[in-house]
């Protein structure tokens, strides 16, 4: 697979301040603890395979006008995996750091906290709506996941250093239209999955 360029949902090493890195790891460890507790051992293979699939799918170029984008698939991760999305995303981010040099070692905690929060916000929305509203709910999940992630990236950059405010604001603004695309693709994906694997998108707890 040729080299792909990622969107700025991963914060690179060397940008975040020490206290923020420590706080990020604290949140990530709490999320990992909760996620691993809710992941049954016999469901690990499913979680791993879905995590691999989402990792690879997020590398595919999806056309947007004259250009193309990569989707984060965080909304779908939340819907399919629920709390297991946090350890799955931690693993995916670690592998992205090792294989693609996206993100970093120390910033892994912050990135996990951000992506995990985004996936969990999607899961919460999907769980509340119980999958009853189908397409609209799935769109909302995809949309809210990207908005949550972008807002947290913006906040992290701003809290790290005030001189990154303009960059942080640009990242948030750039992700707004992309959130719409993510919502639409997530919605169509969930509608298709409902036909193929209805038990995994029933609106109950994830895997």
């Amino acid at each position: 697979m040729r080299r792909e360029k990622g969107r700025n949902m991963h914060i690179s090493e060397g940008v975040l301040s020490g206290p923020l890195i420590a706080a990020g790891w604290g949140l990530a460890l709490a999320g990992l603890g909760a996620g691993l507790k809710k992941t049954q051992a016999e469901k690990l293979t499913e979680t791993a395979l879905v995590s691999s699939a989402l990792f690879l799918v997020s590398l595919v170029h999806v056309p947007l006008g004259p250009s193309s984008i990569h989707l984060t698939m965080l909304g779908l991760a939340g819907i399919l995996l629920g709390w297991s999305a946090v350890p799955a995303l931690f693993v995916a981010l670690l592998l992205q750091g090792i294989l693609l040099q996206f993100g970093g070692l120390l910033s892994l905690g912050v990135n996990t906290a951000i992506m995990g929060s985004a996936a969990l916000s999607s899961y919460a929305l999907w769980y509340l709506l119980g999958g009853r509203f189908g397409f609209a709910a799935a769109f909302g999940c995809g949309f809210i996941a990207v908005i949550t992630g972008s807002a947290l990236v913006t906040l992290s950059l701003f809290l790290s250093a005030k001189d990154l405010f303009s960059t942080a604001a640009l990242i948030f603004a750039a992700n707004l239209p992309l959130a719409l695309v993510e919502g639409i693709v997530t919605a169509f994906c969930v509608v298709t999955l409902k036909r193929l694997l209805p038990q995994y998108v029933s609106g109950q707890a994830g895997i």
Partner: protein, 235 residues
Amino acid sequence: MYLDRLEFKNDLLKTFDPRCRLASGAVFIFAVLYITNTILLACLTVSLILLLFRDIKALLPRLSALNLFCAMLFVTMPLGGEPLSAALLYTLRVNAAALLSMLFVVSMGIGNLIPALSKLRVPEKLVSLLMLTYRYLFVIHRQVFYSVLSMRLRRPRETVTMTWRSYAAAFASVLAGAFFRSRKVTLAARARGFDGAFPLTRTLKWKTRDSLACAGAALAAILLLVINAMLAGGM
């Protein structure tokens, strides 16, 4: 994806325990976060590239993604009233941290990282998840490639929404395939007596030289910070 290993001019680091490499890498990267002198960072970055990496042409594309972010800093920070020197400082810091990460962590490979994490008392579930995810990346990679390729060959070019719908259907088919495969793998594993634990055959032995290396890394990091403080103080 970069499946080929990074080549270094010296393989000395490979002789150390992976846990030592993780700890040393973390210490160096943490020190880099607190370096505020641009010249010191530039010297560090250039030294790392020239002294340690064998193939610079292979190295530079690996840094392209994070340098896109750095390029954005050069545009957005002046718009926010910040000097270009601040953008340069971040660029050098990001690149130095990435190079250190490649040197200490990326180069060790998954085969060394997994036993190191296991020995560091990382929960077994998480280590197993990492192992399985890495294992199936290469299996599902082919499925994604062919699924997207066949979709691109067949999809109607009518509207943008239909295009996104086609991509979504391709992604859903990959995910459904992943679910079905996982069921088969789980049943096959259970039939072979799998009890949820993956035994690791690789044993790691911590030696005195690893302790000395960690101490050396800590001292080197402190020295960098002292030099930074001296340069900042104008001495």
